[in-house]
């Protein structure tokens, strides 16, 4: 098993091992900060940040089951929807607003993104890259919507309604006047790909994309 992340950092203690792509997000977060994790699921990232980085973390999660599991772990999480429920949070209430693998499932991704950067000084966003060569292959040669381990659900059942490519996302950030502080693409298992700064390569080879943004 080799899920060492690419910057060569030592693996965390076994009990604190989290999904590789979440680990990459966690590595972007400075210790002792305030974090809002939107779509926090069972609280894997939130719990990790609380335990190992001493962050003051909060979560927002759509599924009742996810919320229940988080609160049962002692994590402060409430039931809510990224499209609807971000408006209550005060401006600048968090150092980071994290939206992991959720942007593509929102109704108004652009509004959600600007809400993230109203609430948080920085936004950390990850999403599946539709510009990945396999997606292109599926469309071009199979003539079918992409289906792969990261996008396993058929088009008629998927919660993902707003797909984009890395280039699309970068264009939106430019249009919104946002600063891309960091960006990287990940392979299918969630590990970072080292591709230099060529966005076109990243867009072709990256399965998922991860951005840190600021205003």
């Amino acid at each position: 098993m080799n899920d060492t992340i690419s910057n060569g950092a030592a693996l965390p203690a076994h009990s604190d091992r989290i999904r590789v792509d979440l680990q990459l997000i966690a590595d972007m977060v400075e210790p002792g900060t305030r974090v809002l994790d939107i779509g926090c699921s069972d609280g894997e990232l939130l719990g990790y940040l609380t335990r190992t980085k001493n962050v003051d973390g909060r979560g927002l999660e759509l599924s009742n089951e996810g919320v229940r599991n988080c609160v049962a772990k002692g994590l402060p999480v409430m039931q809510g929807d990224a499209d609807r429920d971000l408006g209550d949070y005060p401006d600048g209430a968090f150092d980071y607003a994290i939206l992991s693998q959720t942007l593509q499932a929102t109704h108004r991704p652009k509004e959600v993104l600007s809400e993230l950067l109203r609430i948080g000084k920085k936004a950390i966003v990850s999403f599946p890259n539709f510009g990945h060569w396999r997606a292109r292959f599926d469309l071009m040669f199979r003539g079918r919507m992409p289906q792969n381990p990261n996008l396993p659900i058929m088009w008629y059942e998927t919660p993902n309604i707003h797909f984009c490519t890395v280039l699309d996302f970068v264009a939106m950030c430019e249009e919104m006047g946002l600063t891309i502080e960091r960006s990287m693409v990940l392979n299918e298992s969630g590990s970072k790909l080292s591709l230099g700064s060529q966005t076109r390569f990243s867009n072709f080879l990256g399965n998922q994309a991860l951005f840190m943004l600021s205003k």
Binding site: V67, R68, V71, A72, G74, M78, D88, Y89
Partner: protein, 386 residues
């Protein structure tokens, strides 16, 4: 005094009684300076050396201080939250010092309308001042002061108990480390006020209520109070729960009787609920306490901006609602949670799937217990309690 008082005489109730407000009286919302008065309370477990492990449990409308006793002194049943509070339980009395006091205006040992007004030598009746949720909490702070506790580790309660929890956090945020308002709201809804009014009118329509002077007259408005309880009890359940439990089943008979006898099991059940309630509850207390709930609205002082009631509050909250509760809906809890968010408070908000209605918070609901347990443990770590 008249013979009437004798019918109410019972051996003194077990547990602690503290006389408060002898020098500094209790200033009620109505403007009345009230005191001295008594609060009856129970404690479970031991207060630790730095007095950091105290949990105040707040009881609901018809609850009382016997939250975790094995045998309730009047009903003979287990305490109302024995499921949750006790050695090794979610609110672990091996670890925490649990306090539960009967609210002011109540009838289980704390000063209320059935007690003697020292100025007249007669029971207070309707001369008892109207009390509010804030008054109940103010009285509790005097008890907590007297016990030498600065900060409560947690304040926890359901329904009206949850209203007290919220009032504590709004008025004394520096004294509450963690708060669990359960199946409750920051305000009493029009529908809830309406049901309470039905209950009060039922009591007042009973000729034995005697304009509130039934104790002096040697009477007891049992029929009116029973009807009030029957109505209220329906609101604590849910349509599916009632149907599951009773359906249209007949009570000890094979066919309907073409009469107004209790043909249906649900009728028999409600009559039993009404009857057993009047044995343990004072009718005037019921009027006063329902009124306190009706008056509750935390957003009132802030021109409807609920978030302003919690500005700067450092307490960590766990707001819990139940999906089939139509007295205190998840919608209400979400308004509360959003306001707490807007005030930058630390808040968890969970809806528990249950078809048992409002009463679910008193019943065996594993998901609820899992959530409450996790919240308390997380808070205990935060507070450094072992």
């Amino acid at each position: 005094m008249s013979t009437a008082a004798n019918t109410e005489k019972r051996p003194p109730l077990p547990g602690h009684h503290m006389v408060l407000g002898e020098t500094d009286k209790l200033r009620l919302d109505s403007g009345v300076e009230f005191g001295p008065f008594t609060l009856a309370y129970q404690t479970y477990g031991e207060l630790n050396a730095d007095k950091s492990n105290a949990i105040l449990v707040c009881h609901a409308l018809t609850g009382d201080q016997y939250v975790a006793d094995d045998v309730h002194p009047i009903t003979g049943k287990e305490g109302w939250w024995s499921e949750i509070v006790g050695p090794g339980k979610i609110i672990d009395t091996n670890k925490y010092f649990v306090i539960c006091s009967n609210v002011i205006g109540g009838c289980l040992g704390s000063t209320g309308p059935k007690d003697i007004n020292p100025e007249t030598g007669k029971p207070w009746g309707l001369d008892f001042p109207v009390v509010t949720i804030a008054d109940m909490v103010r009285a509790q702070t005097m008890l907590i002061d007297a016990l030498g506790i600065d900060m409560l580790f947690a304040v926890i309660g359901g329904s009206m108990g949850g209203m007290q929890v919220l009032e504590w956090c709004k008025s004394y945020p520096e004294r509450v480390y963690a708060a669990a308002p359960i199946a409750t709201s920051f305000r009493h809804s029009a529908q809830n006020i309406a049901f309470h009014e039905v209950g009060r009118q039922a009591v007042m329509a009973d000729p034995d209520w005697c304009g509130g002077n039934y104790l002096l007259e040697g009477k007891k408005p049992s029929r009116g109070l029973a009807v009030a309880r029957m109505t209220a009890h329906i609101t604590y359940l849910s349509q599916p729960a009632l149907h599951r439990k009773f359906g249209r089943k007949l009570q000890n008979r094979g066919a309907i009787t073409y009469s107004f006898d209790q043909d249906f099991q649900v009728e028999s059940y409600l009559r039993h609920q009404g009857k057993s309630f009047v044995d343990r509850f004072d009718a005037n207390s019921y009027l006063y306490i329902t009124r306190a709930m009706d008056y509750f609205d935390l957003s009132l002082e802030h021109d409807g901006r609920l978030a302003d009631a919690f500005t700067g509050c450092k307490t960590r909250f766990c707001v819990v609602s139940f999906s089939s509760d139509w007295c205190f809906t998840t919608g209400e809890s979400r308004i509360l949670a959003h306001a707490l968010n807007a005030a930058s408070c630390n808040v968890s908000c969970v809806e528990i799937e249950s078809d048992k209605g409002h009463d679910a918070f008193l019943l065996d609901e594993p998901d609820f217990h899992m959530v409450l347990s996790g919240f308390i443990q997380g808070a205990a770590e935060g507070r450094g309690l072992k």
